[in-house]
């Protein structure tokens, strides 16, 4: 199975730059998720890989083969790339039945009729659309159509499978099943998969690697753990995670004795080597409430807070607190013994801190220092 490599890829529509300087390496057999907010260029990137859009600059190759490179005047037509693409809008053929839709790609390959029918039936059964085989796409619900779109691509078993938010219209249970099915296909065939989503949990659970994009540029490429635990910048930190990461911005002068100032003081006193910190991020599940300053764990720092809300989210709870003008979220899996209005102390273990410089980039050297001080 081939890998995909994008080098300095650009795409502009007139003056508007949809994708800028994108370097992306999808390894052979990897399951990569493109994650980013709406309009950040995910679909555009996917379409460039498929060959439905040509590049404005840079180069794209699959395996050893250069597929698209304006500087070398190379362009391989989409129909010759042998990829599978599931469209965000399904793009089912309205005049063909579900069966004919599924079968179309197989007809383009050398295959006996019985083989073809066997394969079609197999895929339709796997995706639970066998019973609709003689219907037209317009007679199916959105979720069913989406499964047909998937079936159509899976039937031909392509080396590279490109999926543009293929699960967005399915209900929760079906979505889980489809995720499992995709995982299974990936494991069984070693297909290289690029999966576009703006759903971070989907990305987290499915991907080997996640590429976070914003405004047409790559923000971070890494494993789900990397992305979550060590976000490369504030955008990634804030985009990933729900409830969102707590950001303490040193630029805003926090009230004295407030959490912002205490965090700043902590860094200045204990880790003077970390220079130029502009803000810190703290994941909601890394912090906890304690009775008072005395109850803080050794090495941890904290600040007095007032509880402003307790929201059960089914198996876990989000506690909203106000820390001297700074609202913060705490996520816990143990039923919290506090009520709105209670006064407590917030406990922050230093290794939970992600330190960003004034421009918002992660100061990676801080990680080692902070994790040691936790001991």
């Amino acid at each position: 199975m081939p890998g995909i490599s994008l080098a300095k890829v650009q795409k502009s529509y007139g003056a508007y730059r949809a994708v800028t300087d994108l370097d992306l390496e999808v390894k052979d057999g990897e399951f990569l998720c493109l994650l980013g907010p709406s309009g950040c260029g995910k679909t555009t990137t996917l379409r460039m890989i498929a060959g439905l859009e040509n590049l404005s600059g840079g180069s794209l190759s699959v395996g050893e083969r250069v597929m698209d490179c304006p500087d070398k005047a190379v362009f391989v037509a989409p129909e010759k790339r042998g990829m599978g693409l599931v469209f965000q809008s399904y793009a089912l053929w309205p005049h063909l039945t579900i069966e004919q839709n599924t079968e179309f790609g197989l007809k383009l390959r050398k295959m006996t009729k019985s083989e073809r029918q066997k394969r079609t039936t197999e895929v339709m059964e796997a995706l639970g659309i066998e019973e609709f085989r003689d219907r037209l796409p317009s007679q199916l619900s959105g979720g069913q159509q989406q499964r047909v779109a998937l079936a159509r691509m899976l039937a031909v078993n392509p080396d590279v499978l490109l999926l543009d938010e293929p699960l967005s219209n399915l209900d929760a249970r079906l979505r889980l099943e489809m995720r499992a099915e995709l995982k299974r296909i990936h494991a069984a065939f070693g297909t290289t998969i690029v999966f576009v989503t703006h759903d971070q949990w989907e990305a987290m659970t499915l991907a080997d690697t996640i590429a976070v994009m914003n405004d047409g540029t790559l923000q971070q490429l890494g494993t789900p753990d990397d992305i979550y635990e060590r976000p490369a910048n504030r955008f990634v930190a804030e985009f990933v995670g729900s409830p969102p990461i707590n950001i303490l911005d040193f630029g805003k002068s926090g009230e004295s004795g407030g959490i912002v100032q205490r965090a700043r003081d902590y860094l200045a006193q204990h880790h003077p080597q970390i220079a130029g910190a502009g803000s810190v991020g703290i994941r909601p599940e890394a912090i906890a409430l304690v009775e008072g300053e005395a109850a803080l764990a050794p090495g941890a720092f904290g600040a007095p807070v007032q509880v402003t809300g307790v929201l059960p989210t089914g198996g876990s709870w989000i506690v909203e607190v106000q820390a001297e003008g700074q609202a913060m979220f705490i996520n816990t899996h143990v039923a919290p013994a506090v009520r709105t209005g209670d006064k407590r102390w917030l406990e922050v273990p230093p290794r939970a801190l992600s330190v960003f410089d004034a421009a918002g980039s992660r100061i990676a050297t801080a990680d080692a220092l902070l994790s040691r001080s936790a001991a």
Partner: protein, 593 residues
């Protein structure tokens, strides 16, 4: 490198190639003829050398001066211009008044038989306009003109000339013919109008009259403007009615003046006149675009939760229905009945059993000078019928397919300037009244030019001109079909490995089958009743039904002419109704055709 890359991407598929071929084709079929006739108007024509003082082909302002500023400029241009404008304006005023009321009755009240009237009141537009002109002469013709008497004359009442010919009847007929426009466009805007807007004004204490004046009318302005401008543009090129009713009293409009000048081989002057008509047409539509943009700025008709409540007419319900019925009688029943009766009566207006005959349809050895058999037994008629079917049919099929290809090329080519050019060039004939366009064709194709032989007198010139004339509708239909489909179904097939021809055969064409049928059928029907394009380009051997019937009018074969027109009207009417049933399209969309 970059250029080569872009070229390669663009030429990878036949899409751009198709686009380029289309662009060249339409440049030749649409732009070149128009340039040719405009050149005619400033270049010395063969035979005029002495008058202009230059050689054939030399630059001259002779024709411009002759048309606009010579002693005969009055009868050639200014008078016809005044007639055209004044007739158009009066017709518009009448149709807005009549059509506005009818539109309101049909779309917003509980009048009896609303649904039936919704279709019935549109019928005058489905019939060719000069159907009414022939019906009018059948009734009102007086002794000023020879041939068979009019009915009134026959029973001893001589209608005055002003009632029988010229401005009055032309205005009335055009008004009747275009009233359906107002009913359609204004009516559909009224239907979308949110009654809640009305209600909120009423709650604030406004009375009905004020509501109509202050709320409804301003919001209806864009629809009204569109309808008015469309009618005006149509009137500019209107030929048949003015020809039939204006000729006996020398009442010329621009279209008939152009026709006369072409008839008397005044090519240069004809060029000027055609150019003037075109410019008026273009100006009109520019004004329309501007007005509508101005008016649309604040219009939000049919927002969320909009309601359409019917007004109760109460004791006015019956009179209102009567009014609509009256329009139907005058605009449809009476003319059609008159025409029909005239074809089965030997002597006009004598309603006695022995006066009725089918001779004019199927008789033999009639005691007339020529045309000694019924129309259905006349070979010329069948030839004209056959010509109509195959000329209009070929042109419609060709333009339907070309329209779809244009739509495809526009949507799919990565080369944007090409797409823009294709859109504009295929839209252009819309701005040019048919008769001026026909004159342009005549100017270009009357003589052999390079490898293209002289086409005048052949069916080819009719087909080409009709095709080009239909392109605005065809390309618009093709474009909207392609836009609606989007490119993704095709892209999905492409990614699955299907090459271009397979995608066309198995995906694009099958999906677009329905809209292709519509795109062929609607132009076909409007082509059948078309006159102004053919009247310039057809010769006796290439007559279609409309020009054939006009020739019969010229020879004073009243019954035969009426019979042919009746058949054309029937074809147009039932064709339109059937096409609508078949394709489930709305009348308003087929407008303009």
């Amino acid at each position: 490198m970059r250029m080569r890359y872009r070229f390669r991407v663009a030429m990878r598929e036949p899409t751009t190639l198709i686009g380029v071929v289309m662009a060249i084709l339409f440049a030749y079929l649409i732009i070149v003829p128009i340039i040719s006739i405009l050149l005619d108007s400033v270049q010395t024509q063969f035979g005029d050398e002495r008058r202009t003082g230059t050689e054939t082909g030399g630059w001259t302002s002779y024709y411009l001066i002759r048309t606009f500023a010579s002693p005969i400029a009055g009868i050639m241009f200014w008078k016809p211009l005044w007639n055209t404008l004044s007739v158009a304006f009066s017709a518009i005023v009448i149709s807005v008044l009549v059509g506005g009321v009818l539109a309101w009755l049909v779309s917003r009240t509980d009048m009896f038989a609303r649904r039936w009237f919704a279709t019935a009141l549109i019928v005058p537009y489905m019939l060719p306009a000069w159907t009414f002109a022939l019906a009018w002469t059948t009734l009102f013709k007086n002794r000023t003109v020879g041939g068979q008497q009019g009915w009134l004359e026959a029973i001893g009442i001589t209608p005055p000339d002003w009632l029988a010919y010229g401005r009055v009847p032309i205005t009335i007929i055009l008004a009747l013919h275009y009233t359906p426009f107002i009913i359609l466009l204004f009516g559909s805007a009224l239907r979308r109008f949110d009654s809640q807007l009305e209600d909120s004004a009423r709650i604030l204490g406004a009375r009905r009259g004020r509501i109509a004046w202050l709320i409804i009318l301003p919001l209806m302005k864009p629809a009204l403007i569109s309808a008015v401008v469309l009618i005006f543009a149509k009137c500019l090129g209107e030929f048949g009615v003015a020809y039939v009713l204006g000729l006996p009293v020398n009442f010329d409009v621009l279209a008939t003046s152009l026709y006369r000048n072409i008839g008397s081989r005044q090519t240069g002057v004809a060029g000027v006149l055609a150019g003037a008509i075109m410019i008026l047409g273009i100006l009109t539509l520019l004004v329309d675009a501007w007005l509508v943009r101005e008016a649309r700025r604040y219009v939000t008709v049919g927002s969320k939760g909009s309601m359409n409540r019917l007004s109760r007419l109460g004791r006015w319900r019956l009179p209102a229905t009567g009014l609509a019925g009256l329009f139907f009688v005058f605009a449809v029943a009476l003319p059609v009945l008159t025409l029909f009766l005239s074809t089965i009566m030997r002597v006009p207006a004598r309603f006695a059993m022995d006066n009725f005959t089918l001779d004019f349809w199927i008789g033999r050895n009639l005691d007339t000078v020529a045309l000694r058999q019924g129309i259905l037994l006349t070979p010329d008629f069948w030839r004209a019928a056959w010509n109509t079917v195959w000329i209009v049919g070929t042109a419609s099929i060709a333009s339907g397919i070309l329209g779809l290809l244009v739509g495809y090329a526009v949507v799919r080519t990565p080369f944007r300037p090409l797409a823009a050019f294709l859109r504009q060039v295929t839209f252009f004939p819309y701005l040019v009244p048919g008769i001026a366009f026909a004159a342009a064709y005549l100017s270009l194709f009357a003589v052999a030019r390079g490898p293209v032989p002289a086409l005048y007198g052949t069916t080819a010139i009719l087909i080409l001109a009709l095709m080009a004339d239909q392109m605005p509708y065809a390309s618009r239909a093709g474009l909207s079909a392609m836009m609606q489909l989007g490119k993704e179904p095709e892209e999905a097939a492409q990614v699955a490995g299907a090459g271009w021809s397979r995608r066309m055969r198995q995906i694009v064409v099958p999906i677009q089958k329905g809209s292709l049928v519509t795109g062929i059928l609607l132009p076909f029907i409007s082509g059948i009743k078309g006159l102004s394009l053919f009247v310039i380009l057809a010769v006796p051997s290439t007559d279609v039904l409309t020009t054939y019937s006009l020739r019969l009018v010229d020879y004073n074969y009243t019954q035969a002419a009426n019979a042919v027109v009746l058949m054309v009207a029937g074809l147009a009417l039932f064709g339109t109704l059937a096409a609508q049933k078949l394709t489930k399209t709305n009348l308003a969309e087929g407008l303009g055709g």
